[in-house]
Symmetry: C2
Subunit: 351 residues, 2 copies
């Protein structure tokens, strides 16, 4: 059909499976195994459905925005809120990577980066991680149109020290550097304090992992006021109201409960360390993880085989049939009980 | 700062004011004056906050999607769901208007169209409405990169007959024609049946007006399966999960209550007709409206004066200081009581 000539043709990102089957152990999309804070439940019961007839408030003028500002000790003009960190990152790509020079990101990383580059027509170059899955700083010191990487990296879990990140930012003052901190709450140290030193740094966060609210779709970014203003200009050129009233309210309720947040992060970290020991005993190797997942290869059995066999045990983990990582499984850290079920299944599969 | 060279610089859309003051009469953003269906309240109380830890289902595989498909009697592959019709339209611009030829839309129309064209770098030409604010079909018969217009048009309220729309679609089989039916439920006839005849037609709807759920951010599009597939490819290249769990659930609950939906639409239409009589008596002229608003000019007093004075009465209507429409007010149809307050204020202002 002739109209198809004008269509933007893209190969979309493929998210992890969302099986609807009951009783499965879902360790494939890095969701939190614990429910959100009970404060979220309380707020849900208090919401007035009649308010839904009215448009929401502008995201940056909400209670949620105020709470994030105060929690992180940043300025009111230093925050941007979006529909999960995917929305925030997508907007940031569209806003800041508007150059003829290639954007740089690692070869093994969040697999949405090249998809965003393709959909917005942004040139890019991937920079191979070293054999330990570490970012090679020297790769990021060449002329480029912008830089983006997660820290800790996904799906590897590898954490880069903030001093190394600072070197990259300092060497690239003429472009925007995005540090995607989706997994920062599981033991890493944030680069956030650098936003007041470097006006070209954008830090991105999500409620989907450590805050147990993947279903509410909340993400945010922090940076220099001017950076945030540009981001908002593009956002308000796409959709005035991206955050619905329910997400704004429940997100604010979540932020009220720091004790619960700290508790679930600690539990996940403890389970991760226990899982690391068990996986080692089972013959897996993996880089030390700072995320709520472990990226592991077995010394004898192929990842794809294990992946398929775990499914038959109703245990879903993540597998990518891609160069360099096609012998690895990304295993989300669940509850201790879920991990025990995983170890039992693995013992059976590997026997 | 050097990084600013790479920034996409745009002039964002400016939505109507969202004053937080209590007790104001808000007739400025075409919200519904009635609350959503009580079924929405019921569903809100049943929602399990624990589910929020999990990502939502993919929008086109939800109960909401099923209900829209069955309500409109279309195929399962003919629906696309987004974060309000703004998200749907924005995605459609990005997906379908990917040509060097200009996209056509009216000069007086939804003022987001040129903003989307600018942010995505889409060439466009505006086509002046005639003196009665009607679309001149002949303007849309020249070579173009796509066509978009609302029916009924906003902010004029003017409705174009489906047979005339069909002429435009039939004459433009080589591009996509988007008919934005945000206001179709207030008396107009939908072009929806044409989607099975013309594979280049996309119909866009919203829950923000007739379904009283502006705060939930739900919109959708219907069209040929192939059109919808392209749209989903772009959407899944931007954000896998745009609809949060709450919106998906509450949207489905809303669709369960067709009697309530019909009742509030009838009430708004009745109040609109009463408002039309009163405004005429007060010296206003306006095209016949098929929306939940009236676009009116006064025969003596300037629109901007009335706009400012109404604000002092705590009544907000919409005013644009733009060529051709700078003597018009767009007045949302509220409840009968709200309109009585408006008439009283107008009588005082115009006296």
């Amino acid at each position: 059909m002739k109209w198809e000539d004008n269509v933007r043709k893209v190969v979309p990102y493929v998210a992890g499976e969302q099986p609807q089957k009951k009783g499965i152990i879902k360790l494939n999309t890095n969701e939190c195994p614990y429910p959100p804070s009970p404060k979220v439940e309380g707020r849900m019961k208090q919401m007035d459905y009649q308010d839904l007839r009215l448009y929401p408030e502008f995201s940056e003028k909400t209670m949620l925005s105020d709470m994030l500002v105060s929690y992180h000790g940043i300025g009111k003009e230093q925050i941007f809120i979006g529909v999960g960190s995917d929305d925030v990152l997508s907007m940031a790509f569209l806003t800041f990577f508007n150059s003829d020079k290639p954007v740089f990101f690692p070869d093994i990383t969040y697999s949405f980066y090249d998809v965003w580059a393709e959909v917005y027509g942004i040139p890019y170059e991937v920079k191979p991680l070293d054999d330990d899955f570490c970012i090679r700083r020297e790769d990021y010191l060449k002329e480029n149109g912008g830089i983006v990487f997660p820290n800790p990296n996904a799906p590897t879990g590898v954490f880069m020290d903030v001093s190394e990140i600072e070197e990259i930012i300092a060497a690239n003052r003429d472009v925007v550097v995005i540090v995607d901190e989706a997994y920062i709450d599981f033991g890493g140290t944030s680069a956030l304090p650098l936003i007041n030193k470097y006006d070209n740094l954008l830090i991105v966060r999500t409620f989907s992992k450590s805050r147990a609210m993947a279903g509410a779709r909340i993400g945010y970014a922090m940076g220099n006021e001017r950076l945030i203003r540009y981001l908002n200009d593009v956002k308000y050129s796409v959709n005035s109201y991206t955050m619905n009233r329910m997400a704004l309210e429940l997100g604010a309720a979540c932020m009220e409960d720091d004790a619960y947040f700290k508790e679930i992060c600690s539990k996940i970290i403890a389970t991760r360390e226990r899982t690391a020991k068990e996986l080692t005993a089972l013959g897996f190797t993996f880089p030390p993880s700072y995320g709520n997942f472990i990226f592991a290869a077995h010394n004898k059995v192929k990842a794809q085989d294990i992946f398929e066999k775990l499914k038959k045990h109703d245990i879903y983990v993540r597998y990518w049939n891609k160069p360099r990582i096609d012998n690895y499984l990304r295993i989300t850290i669940g509850t201790d009980e879920q991990m025990d079920a995983l170890f039992a299944a693995l013992r059976e599969i590997l026997a």
